[in-house]
């Protein structure tokens, strides 16, 4: 090999290198052109649209994706969620398509529950919840939702064990404890509301409704001092809450502070003059003080509206009898009898 030979071969190598570079450039241009000319895949786009709140466009993109992959159940579940934002019936259709064998099945069923509850399709909600309770026994939400559904249907006895089970599965879920308290009230087990309500307050210190319910529950349990404490807590935050003020009046009465009770109930009535519960307590205090005529005068206007309220009628009968209104008293007693039958 000579130096002259070497010199001769160098241009050839350079040429091959240039050819390779040109080929690579061509491939790059082709690929780039193809990428530019081909539309992007639907799924990522759909998700981008969801993030920017364009749900209808997102739904169309999901459908494009599912046209080629109809058994992509995960994506169908996403579609259902998007549809639920603006077209619940269609969302329901998509969720129902998810088969039991799919990994997304339970999630789809959960979403069916939300939609059914929101759209009052209660029978389907109940069926799906029962299924979820069976298939996802560690999930605290289905028993809670079913308990709440039964609570709305005034089926407290059936609901209570479900709500209790939910609290056991997730002891930190305040709404379930609150629901237990509500159900106990419906079942007439008012004093037992105290424990779950205290738990609610443990979890959510400023849970107003729980404090108000506690004032009520303590009163029913014969603990006026505790009832007073809770009523005062509520009134410190909402001085115009007539329920809280009535509980305070009742606590004062039960503690023998009759003057204070009368002051508080008068204050409550200044806010809500037609409130039946306050009027009843006012009348009881008047009757205790043997001011029967005054009680009768205050109660009479309520009768046309609340003639089926036995408490009112009983107080009217007592006031009428004590003031010598024998006929009127007899009328009220007959009404009580009728209400008792």
């Amino acid at each position: 090999m000579t130096d002259q030979g070497k010199t001769h071969r160098q241009p050839a190598r350079l040429k091959r290198l240039i050819q390779l570079l040109l080929a690579a450039a061509f491939v790059w241009v082709v690929v780039a052109t193809v990428r530019t000319l081909t539309p992007p895949a639907a799924l990522p786009l759909a998700r981008e649209r969801v993030a920017s709140g364009q749900f209808d466009q997102a739904a169309e993109l999901y459908l494009q994706h599912l046209a080629s992959r109809p058994e992509d159940w995960e994506v169908r579940t996403e579609l259902g969620l998007v549809l639920a934002e603006f077209d619940r019936p269609r969302a329901l259709v998509e969720f129902r398509k998810v088969p039991p064998a799919s990994e997304s099945y339970l999630e789809a069923r959960r979403q069916i529950v939300w939609i059914c509850l929101a759209s009052e399709r209660l029978k389907e909600a109940e069926d799906v919840l029962l299924e979820l309770i069976e298939k996802a026994p560690d999930d605290f939400l289905p028993p809670f939702q079913l308990a709440e559904l039964y609570f709305r249907q005034r089926r407290a006895a059936v609901a209570l064990p479900l709500a209790v089970a939910s609290t056991e599965l997730n002891p930190d879920h305040a709404p379930a404890h609150f629901l237990v308290a509500e159900l106990l009230d419906d079942l007439g087990r008012t004093s037992e509301m105290i424990t779950p309500l205290l738990r609610v307050i443990d979890l959510q210190l400023d849970h107003y409704a729980a404090h108000l319910d506690l004032a009520y529950a303590y009163a029913e349990a014969g603990q006026p001092a505790e009832s007073r404490r809770e009523a005062e807590w509520c009134l410190a935050r909402n001085p115009r809450d007539i329920n809280a003020r009535r509980f305070l009046a009742q606590a004062a009465r039960d503690e023998g502070q009759i003057d204070e009770a009368q002051r508080e109930i008068t204050a409550a009535l200044a806010t809500a003059p037609a409130d039946l519960e306050c009027r009843l307590l006012e009348a009881e205090l008047l009757l205790f003080r043997e001011q029967e005529a005054k009680a009768l005068e205050r109660l009479r206007p309520l009768y046309p509206v609340h003639a089926s309220d036995r408490r009112l009628v009983a107080l009217l009968a007592r006031a009428a009898a004590a003031t010598g209104q024998a006929e009127e008293a007899a009328k009220y007693r007959q009404q009580i009898q009728k209400l008792s039958e």
Partner: protein, 635 residues
């Protein structure tokens, strides 16, 4: 529910918020590369430290490191030391037959006229129906709970032969001796109530005992023995009678007899019930609405030593029958005749106004005593009648079911009553108790009648279905604060008031004659108690026994007014009170610090008034009708 306010429903809304706002979660989840769907727990705030629960006054036994407080009223159970060895025997069956829950009565009366009140304890027995014979035996668990330490009862077996009503003779206030067999009072029935009075005016107190299937009248022979006396329809298979009272309802000078009847519980068709909750089914005692209630019974004393049934002529059969339990007889409207007030279980209470000659009209609704202030029926158990408010009228106090309050009806005259339970402080402490026996007595001799209540449920298995309603409950005692307020002083009233029991009947007597009233208590399937009042700073007193000559000999039904300075204390003589029980007919009147001579006016049954003056305090007195005589009598 009365006080239920209109609540928002945060439970529902909180969780639905998560469902409706899932997109926010979805977006975040997608960016993070995963799903976050639904679920309420993610937004829960961290749990706060455990907040101490309030004391459960219904079940708390007050056990704690600090010594219990001493209250203004104190009692010590002296049953064991004084020889009161009585154990009520009422083992429950697996089907929870209701009469086995209701307990039995207890009563004080001086059967031997030695001046010392003797004690009669009514006894239960096994349920001896065909069901029992067929194998529905008592449950060991329950029988064991009240296992008899004196050998009277054994669990899970037939009734021991020595389980019987028991008469204890009071030996000078130092001992109680069982003289049942000597007196001829042993029996094998399931006994409910007892009431003592001298129905034949021979000077010796006789006895009526009601029960399941049979009511028995015993005449006191005056020699320490008793003989059964035929009573019309005394035996009726399946009838469960309850409380009984004596009173001269037709004002003929002879004591008549009124018996409440609860229900017909036929041995072969005895209703039994179950309750399903929390996925469990338990047997329970039946609600009274599921039982066949019976009319109450009035027996008229002919004055010839026998009785005729007079319920129909008396007007008691008008209206539907109701499940009667407690009854009191007193001149509620002070018109000279004896009225009746009956506590009915879950139905309206009866107030039988005596129209004269023993004809009655139910004035329950008109008087405001058939229901509570809210127009609701309550499950009435025991009753006491007395001047609780210090206004010279007979008020009524009724014990009721768990979740209800006991109810105090203030007598506003003219046979109108006002429910003043809450205002007087008697409502709150009773809400989480099921009241049965109740007694009125001035335990501290301050001139105001105090109240004692025995509590205990009629369902023993509610905790099995997650119901926080205990079978055994604490008794209550209230100090009367001048008729305005009843102060719950149970916490400081002694060990007995800190131990839950299945309380039933209570009866009052100053058994040791130390000048303050004591209480005997018969609990369900448990040992009886004798609570001696430890009133260290008690006031002065008068003990008054009436001797009727035109009226019945015991002066049953008389109203006694004692002048104490400017105050007039009203007391009434009754034979049958509380629940299934009777107090000693001699009355003890507390006088506070008044130590001068007292004047006493007696309104005898029929309305005749008679006044005695200058009765020295802290002495027993016998006042004889129509003679102006007062005798200072031992002990």
């Amino acid at each position: 529910m009365y006080l239920r306010h209109r609540r928002t429903r945060p439970a529902a809304s909180q969780c639905q918020i998560h469902g409706r706002h899932w997109v926010a979660s979805l977006t975040v989840g997608l960016l993070a590369g995963g799903w976050v769907l639904g679920g309420c727990s993610s937004s829960n705030p961290p749990a706060q430290p455990e907040r101490p629960l309030p004391r459960n006054t219904a079940t708390d036994d007050s056990g704690g490191p600090s010594p219990p407080p001493r209250g203004p009223l104190e009692f010590v159970d002296v049953a064991a030391s004084i020889g009161l060895q009585f154990h009520h025997y009422s083992p429950l069956t697996s089907k929870r037959h209701i009469h086995l829950f209701l307990g039995s009565g207890i009563g004080w009366f001086d059967f031997d006229r030695d001046g010392w009140p003797d004690l009669f304890c009514c006894q239960g027995t096994d349920f001896g129906s065909p069901q029992a014979a067929a194998g529905d035996r008592p449950e060991n668990g329950h029988a064991d709970r009240g296992a008899d330490t004196s050998g009277k009862g054994t669990s899970g077996s037939a009734t021991p032969s020595n389980v019987t009503n028991t008469l204890f003779q009071n030996r000078l206030g130092n001992a109680l001796d069982d003289v049942t067999h000597l007196a001829g009072l042993a029996n094998v029935d399931y006994s409910m109530a007892v009431s003592a009075a001298d129905y034949n005016n021979d000077g010796f107190s006789d006895l009526v005992v009601t029960g399941y299937h049979r009511n028995t009248l015993y005449r006191n022979n005056g020699d320490g023995t008793f003989s059964p006396v035929p009573l019309p329809q005394a035996e009726r298979l399946g009838r469960l009678s309850a409380s009984c009272v004596w009173g001269d309802f037709d004002d003929d000078g002879n004591l008549d007899l009124f018996i409440t009847n609860y229900a017909r519980l036929g041995p072969t068709d005895y209703p039994t019930c179950e309750h399903t909750a929390a996925g469990k089914t338990i047997p329970i005692s039946c609600h009274p609405a599921l039982l066949e209630a019976l009319h109450d019974t009035l027996y008229r004393n002919t004055g010839q030593g026998d009785f005729v049934e007079a319920s129909r002529e008396a007007g008691l059969l008008l209206g539907p029958p109701r499940a009667g339990l407690g009854v009191v007889a007193a001149d509620l409207d002070q018109d000279g005749d004896i009225d009746l007030y009956v506590a009915n279980d879950t139905t309206e209470n009866h107030l039988w106004e005596n129209q004269g000659q023993g004809r009655f009209l139910d004035r329950g609704a008109a008087s405001g005593t058939s229901r509570n202030r809210h127009g609701e029926n309550e499950a009435g158990m025991g009753i006491v009648a007395g001047d609780l408010m210090g206004r010279g009228r007979i008020d009524l106090f009724v014990t009721n079911y768990y979740g209800e309050t006991n109810t105090l009806y203030r007598n506003d005259t003219q046979l109108f009553f006002a429910d003043v339970t809450e205002e007087t402080g008697l409502g709150a402490p009773s809400r989480l108790r099921l009241g049965f026996g109740t007694s009125l007595a001035d335990f501290d001799n301050d001139g105001w009648l105090d109240l004692l209540i025995a509590n205990g449920h009629v369902q023993d298995r509610l905790p099995d279905v997650d119901r926080n309603e205990p079978f055994a409950q604490l008794p209550l005692v209230f100090q009367n604060q001048h008729g305005v307020r009843f102060h719950n002083v149970s916490d400081g009233a002694g060990e007995y008031f800190r131990t839950p029991r299945v309380g039933r009947s209570t009866a009052i007597s100053d058994f040791d004659r130390d000048g303050d009233p004591d209480v005997a208590i018969n609990c369900h399937h448990d040992a009886a108690a004798l609570l001696r009042t430890e009133a260290g700073q008690a006031g002065n007193w008068l003990r008054i026994a009436l001797v009727g000559r035109e009226s019945n000999r015991d002066g049953i039904g008389a109203l006694v007014r004692v002048e104490v300075g400017e105050l007039t204390l009203l007391r009434s003589i009754q034979a049958g009170t509380g629940y299934l029980s009777c107090d000693e007919s001699t009355i003890l009147v507390g006088l506070g610090q008044h130590d001068g001579p007292c004047g006493v006016t007696v309104t005898w049954p029929g309305g005749q008034r008679e006044t005695w003056t200058s009765l020295a305090v802290n002495r027993p007195w016998r006042l004889i009708q129509g003679s102006g005589q007062k005798q200072n009598v031992p002990p």
